[in-house]
Symmetry: C3
Subunit: 129 residues, 3 copies
Amino acid sequence: MPFVRIDLGKQYSVAEAQTIGDIVYQAMTSSINVPADDKFQVITMHDENELIIPQNYLGIEYSRGIVFIQITLNEGRSVELKKKFYKSICEMVVEKLKIRSEDIFINLVEVSKENWSFGNGEMQYAPKV
Amino acid sequence: MPFVRIDLGKQYSVAEAQTIGDIVYQAMTSSINVPADDKFQVITMHDENELIIPQNYLGIEYSRGIVFIQITLNEGRSVELKKKFYKSICEMVVEKLKIRSEDIFINLVEVSKENWSFGNGEMQYAPKV
Amino acid sequence: MPFVRIDLGKQYSVAEAQTIGDIVYQAMTSSINVPADDKFQVITMHDENELIIPQNYLGIEYSRGIVFIQITLNEGRSVELKKKFYKSICEMVVEKLKIRSEDIFINLVEVSKENWSFGNGEMQYAPKV
């Protein structure tokens, strides 16, 4: 159910972008109770000048290696779970891909359970009556 | 007011993507009370490896023909209307384009009426005071 | 914290798209109390036929010069601030880039403060306990 958009620069390879996607998926299953195989992601590669960042925000310095991760998911996860989720993504991306931890930007958009159709025109998460 | 993002692989033509857009628009007007001519859509064509799907989720098998449809719209449609909307999109896409019904992924993001400007810097859906 | 997606046609240059981004940022700081340097934006350039618009909606006539601006930001701005924000973006874009005011489409998606990580895997806007 989380639908993940990953936007990053073309200095990365699509394989690297896929690895980021794998990590986001892994963090979802381990940190915020997303079921196995619930992995729907769209990667968009950009020219460098299509990604706009400040030099510095909240004391964090950004580089051209910025990775934008925007995740639409069901509402209701606690603040604690979300914290764990951000930390988990960041640690794994830094470890596996040597991307600067400052360059991992994450944003969640929460929706209600009825807002998904995973195929066949059905509302798979329909509320029980 | 619905703002529709359609992300799909380059094995499709832009004309096919536009037909999907036409169908989404048609389903909006017939199923969820969207007014005529309220048709704002962005198509993004992707290399095959930029679209990440599981082999199988909830018993549904996906293929490289996946079509992601993400729709931002005003909040407040009922579960029943949304069900009808998903079904309507899926049936028409399958019929007109022979896309596998399993490959139609739909996600709704709901916002409030004041969150739109349709041009001229105005808030056309401003709440009446 | 606002995360801005700008989608527009390739008849524009990336420099023009960046100018639109600069204006959106400037309007955010002057109209809706966004802090300095909080500027995170993704530009996506499209082939003309990937941007779908009606000829006319709510009496507004659109052209191929349409600019889609979708902004994810924290919830809670008043209707009045949002009105000022739309107006401010539109006026500056028209003035600086001679884009038709009818072609400035803006949509806000509101999220809660805990839904952001601006780097380092931290939740910088975590609610105070």
